[in-house]
Amino acid sequence: MSTIAETASRAPTRRRMRVDGWRWAGRIFLVFMLLYTALPMIWMLITSIKSGFAATQFPPQWWPDEPTLASYQKLLDPQNSVGQDFLRFFWNSLFVSTVTTILSVIVAVPAAYAFSRFSFPGRNFLFFAVLLRNMFPAVIFLVPLFILMRAIGLVNTHGSLILTYLTFGLPLAIWLLKGFYDNIPVQLEQAARIDGATRFQAFIMIVMPLSTPGIIATAIYSFIGAWNEYIYAYTFLSKNEQLTLPVGIQRFFSENTTDFPGLMAASFMMSVPVVVLFLVLQRYFVRALTEGAVKH
């Protein structure tokens, strides 16, 4: 009797101890991860408001003695050549990424729906063929795609990049969206069709609104992929006025003497659209990735 009572009273305290230990390990790990990801960003931001001299000082100024927005003013000023280039690169990136995003949603939505709902000959084969592309590193396709683009006369156009980004982004977009449609009970569409909708109306009025989170996630994914891509933009485009931001920033600042505050300011501004997009829409993104994990 006494032993039972003893173990019973001791067990809870021991269990709580163990949970606390793990919890602290978890917290320390999270703090470490936070520093690991946030510190470079913070350092980028601090450097961008330094003067050129202060940025190269050693030991570094942890906080600039004379913070200045001069680099930002220079980059955003359409009157000077640096600003002209930066704004053009920014516009080019925005254009390529936006068109890629729109096209990828337009293609991925019906494709994913078809893969999810219809059975047609070669469905599984096609689905895995679509994914096969993602099993190879992107660089493998660099030379073949370049030859292809030259053959169809798309080298030095934004069209070449949009097409390339679509071939990279679409497979995952379709995969992601298909998972989404799989989780929408087919009975909802059937109910809508019995209630008087055509198959297309049922899709537009019932299924589309329910898959908005998936569509948004797909859009973010396509946009970020296109926005950050470097190697293809570097290979396919050679004219200065066509460059996208990643290539533009890199090329521009290696041509001039390295202007670290300017480089950091440009990098910071390049990351702003992505971060803003993600912050605004992240709840959809998380929902899209976890959808179907639990039954509701």
Partner: protein
């Protein structure tokens, strides 16, 4: 309201026939239950009537129209789904209004009909809620409401009660039955639960393996099952089916059990056995038609009680006879213990006899 006719309906997937030459007529205002085990083709049949699945061959007639090639929206039907299929992003009001909007009714008329349906189903206070904020029973009601706002020719219901807990199921069962009586609605109701079919339907269509086994009133199906499948599927606990050997000696027809006991048949039952294609005959008896005796009486068969299940108002005793389980009900005041020697007496008037080869019920003439 309208009648529904299925003529020689077939649905095949490759070589597999999910629905195999099914023909039946649902009269105007009739409540018909399609019942059978899972995979028997009952839901497929319902989807064929709804137009959600294209038919392979045959005809479906709703009212006076052949609807084989019509879209679901043009068939003038309403359907209640097992998972209710309420539009999750729409409020209850908008769920109910959707079928009316799709039919381009004027807004004030939609409002009137939605409110009327809500009043009938006692959910006026729920109109602004989203489906996920409702309990299972309330969701069920909304699904029913969405079907009835439109006043369709036929109601199709696909296991509408199977997601509810037992108590609510019994309550909704009587509500749907009441709803049928008030509206004189033509209803085709799919269920795997034979009790639902028996309690609610005017007629039941028992299906198995894509074939329609029997189509008749629940009382008829219960009293005269056409084959062993129907006999064992309808009724709870299931009818006991005991494989026996028939023989005739001195003008008497006798069934012999594997244990060697003999059961002399009445003249009428003997007449049935003569029609069997083999000497293998299966005796079917419901628990209430078997008498349990604690000592031997003429015509009774010795057996040993195997399990005893008291349920309150009746106690079920199981015994093995000829390799089959026999279920007998006794009043709770009769105490039987496992392994006790008992004697079973079959009611010759209410026993069923089946051909051991074809599994079909044997008839006297």
């Amino acid at each position: 309201m309208a009648h529904v006719v299925l003529q020689d309906l077939v649905k095949s997937y490759g070589g597999f026939k999910a629905v195999n030459h099914v023909s039946l007529t649902v009269n105007d205002g009739e409540f018909v239950a399609l019942v059978g085990p899972s995979g028997c083709g009952k839901t497929t049949t319902l989807n064929l009537v709804a137009g959600l699945t294209p038919i392979t061959s045959g005809d479906i007639i709703i009212g006076e129209r052949v609807v084989n090639d019509l879209d679901p929206k043009d068939r003038d039907i309403a359907m209640v789904f097992q998972n209710y299929a309420l539009y999750p992003q729409k409020s209850v009001y908008k769920n109910l209004a959707f079928p009316l909007q799709m039919r381009k009714l004027p807004r004030d008329e939609i409002d009137k009909k939605v409110k009327e349906a809500a009043r009938v189903l006692d959910m006026t206070h729920l109109l602004e809620r989203k489906p996920r904020e409702l309990s299972g029973g309330q969701q069920q009601r909304v699904a029913l409401g969405r079907a009835l706002v439109r006043d369709p020719a036929v109601f199709l219901m696909d296991e509408p009660l199977s997601n509810l807990d037992a108590k609510l199921r019994v309550q909704m069962r009587s509500e749907i039955k009441r709803f049928h009586q008030d509206l004189k609605a033509t209803i085709i109701y799919v269920t795997h639960d034979q009790l639902e079919a028996v309690t609610m339907a005017d007629k039941m269509a028992v299906m198995n393996g894509g074939y329609l086994q029997q189509y008749d009133s629940p009382a008829q199906v219960f009293a005269h099952p056409v084959n062993m499948f129907v006999a064992s599927f309808i009724g709870s606990p299931a009818m006991s089916l005991i494989p026996l050997e028939a023989s005739t000696a001195n003008g008497n027809t006798v069934l012999t059990g594997a244990e060697g006991w003999r059961l002399e048949l009445s003249p009428r039952n003997a007449q049935k056995v003569v029609r069997a294609t083999t000497m293998k005959v299966v005796l079917g008896a419901r628990h209430s038609t078997i008498k349990l005796h604690k000592s031997a009486v003429p015509g009774s068969i010795p057996a040993k009680a195997y399990t005893v299940e008291p349920t309150g108002d009746v106690t079920f005793v199981q015994a093995f006879l000829s390799g089959a389980i026999v279920n007998v009900s006794v009043p709770p005041n009769i105490a039987v213990s496992p392994d006790e020697q008992i004697w079973l007496e079959f009611d010759q008037e209410r026993m069923h006899l089946f051909d051991g080869e074809t599994e079909m019920a044997l008839k006297a003439n």
